[in-house]
Symmetry: C2
Subunit: 356 residues, 2 copies
DNA sequence: ATGAAAGCGCTAACAA
DNA sequence: TTGTTAGCGCTTTCAT
């Protein structure tokens, strides 16, 4: 029965130097290897010693050095997530789902925001330098040669955007069908003067979505001269608004509009507000994405909803399994989830009012 | 003039083992230290050797090992960001601003999402174990004893929420004045039956905001019996909606409502939609936060806008400076930015219609 | 059941 | 201008 008065409860460490296993060893009058084993609960160490060591460690505020362990060959618990933009609800959802997933499995997420391929390259290099266990990446349109080479050294998986030259697994949306569904809905309501405002075709999602738009028109024999395609950078704050204002203040008005990006959808809602256009009387609109506010926007925005969270969770689980099994096969694994059309108040049959 | 036909352009590394400085040294027929110096552009190394080394490094796809460097005492470029929730526009903005800021200064952001103090403790420990250079934290309501001790070992700064026992610098909003402004606006319009729906008072922001609400009422001699205070968990998806539905379907209706959380503001908009209540005729509402959709919601939501992005950027810059200067003073540094009231269509004088 | 010692990949002090 | 060497903190044989 010892009194715990003296050295006990003070500010644990003075921020001076990190406490090492050696310090603990000295405090417990054992060797460093015993400390290591005791803390790892090695069965060869007596319970007696274990408790002595653990107590000493706790008292000193010992926290094992990950860098040192990594050097010994222990695999890192750091995984990178490379995103173009976290303020986008789409990507924020992914970040959250992956973070939860990683956290639940003992991994730590390093978030890297990169819109251009240079920044992307830098971040990938840093992750490799840190010997991260893997990386989730929504790749830029044209990753650097360096990025591509670097990624061959580390387990990784692509999300949403697919760059074939990366030669890795991919989890994404069925973008082509997604937009197709939206356009078909408009056509079935009787629209023919349909405009699509979406991302440029320099990445896979932009290409697939545009393809979906065109396929729907073709299947229903819509005259090309009546439709419009406006493409711009998918993460630009300004493009969407400008394109839509241009479109809706031009001479030949469409009767329906479908967007191909979350950001552009938001820009559309904003523009419609400024132009004081009513939906679906002046214009029927279908929005890409499923941000919560789309539900209560006016009488509801008809949207293309994607199970982004499920997608991310699946991707996370699969990837962690992959890392831990360290099978280098399954490079070509691809998984797509379908989007669903949620019909709300913003779409209706073209009214007589609509001019051309 | 050598031909570059043979060993040149192949898949750089076979994912087998990382290329080390030693490998590069052998390839360039120099010593490891020469490799290190050449790659660090040490002036003592001849340009001749430098280029030989760099070429070899590039050819082999060498990426320096951060863990090894860390062990040598180089400071980590990893900084942690602990957030309750990235899907919240508020926090997403912070994440983005800090990421940019870190990235611009050569740091890497590790994102940790933690809503409870247990998870928080785990993540803080991991960051310390990784020997992170510092951590930005929006602390949970009641950080663990362990978390608090651990944080004393690492430079850190609190964002938004302030836990005094952490004994560290803090960057936040002037929450008290913020809500005060909103309430005063309502009072000046003639409202007295005012309800506040906000976060619980177990963290500083919840306390300060409620205090602002009460101060305004007191200053203008509003009868307490006419007002309502509904408090709940700030990050709960369900609380806000339920509280507001309860409030607005109850017997004694307020004529004005002010929210104290971004999430609750969103829940309010949703609830108002479902209840088909019109603003400001049935009810005047002031929303906390400044998500983009608030501008085009109906005739615009009167909001309390906070320069969150500036706050985060300032915090990031200050903190990085702090880390690099490694002065352990300034523990008590506090910085607050003011919120501003943006008056839009959702607030007006109480109409006769409003019952009680 | 425990200790001694080697070595992970790198940097820096000391030699040459 | 370059090489040699000694550790950083840890895990892991190999001894005891």
């Amino acid at each position: 029965m010892e009194k715990e008065d003296g050295t006990g409860s003070r500010q644990i460490s003075q921020k001076s130097k990190m406490v090492t296993a050696r310090d603990v060893a000295e405090a417990a009058s054992v060797s460093v290897s015993t400390v290591g084993r005791a803390l790892a609960n090695d069965p060869r160490i007596s319970n007696q010693t274990k408790s002595v060591v653990k107590e000493a460690a706790a008292k000193l505020g010992y926290v094992e050095s990950l860098p040192a362990r990594l050097m010994r060959g222990v695999r890192s618990n750091l995984v990178g997530l490379m995103l173009p933009d976290v303020r986008n609800h789409f990507y924020a959802t992914i970040a959250e789902a992956l973070s939860d997933c990683c956290s639940a499995n003992g991994y730590q997420l390093a978030l890297s925001l990169a819109n251009d391929s240079e920044t992307e390259a830098r971040h990938v290099k840093e992750l490799i330098s840190a010997r991260a266990a893997g990386v989730f990446i929504v790749p830029s349109s044209a990753p650097t040669r360096e990025t591509r080479d670097l990624l061959q050294n580390i387990p990784h998986v692509q999300l949403l955007r697919k760059v074939p030259s990366l030669n890795s697994a991919w989890f994404g949306i069925n973008d082509e069908v997604c937009i197709y569904q939206g356009v078909r809905h408009l056509i079935e309501l009787g629209h023919t003067k349909i405009a699509y405002v979406g991302g440029t075709t320099d990445n896979s999602t932009g290409r697939d979505r545009l393809a979906g738009f065109r396929r729907a028109l073709k299947e229903f024999d819509i005259n090309n001269s009546e439709t419009r395609e406006l493409l711009g950078p998918p993460s630009s704050a300004s493009f969407g608004a400008e394109a839509i204002i241009d479109l809706l203040t031009g001479e030949t008005l469409p009767t329906a509009l479908i967007t191909g990006t979350v950001r552009i959808t938001q820009a559309m809602l904003e523009s419609l507000h400024h132009l004081k256009m009513s939906t679906p009387d002046d214009l029927s609109v279908v929005g890409f994405g499923d941000a919560p506010e789309f539900e209560w926007w006016r009488s509801g925005l008809t949207t293309l909803r994607m199970p982004i969270q499920d997608l991310a969770t699946m991707c996370g689980l699969w990837f962690i399994h992959q890392i831990e099994a360290k099978k280098s096969s399954d490079k070509g694994y691809q998984s797509t989830v379908p989007a669903s059309l949620i019909v709300r108040g913003s779409t209706g049959s073209p009214s007589k009012r609509s001019s051309y």
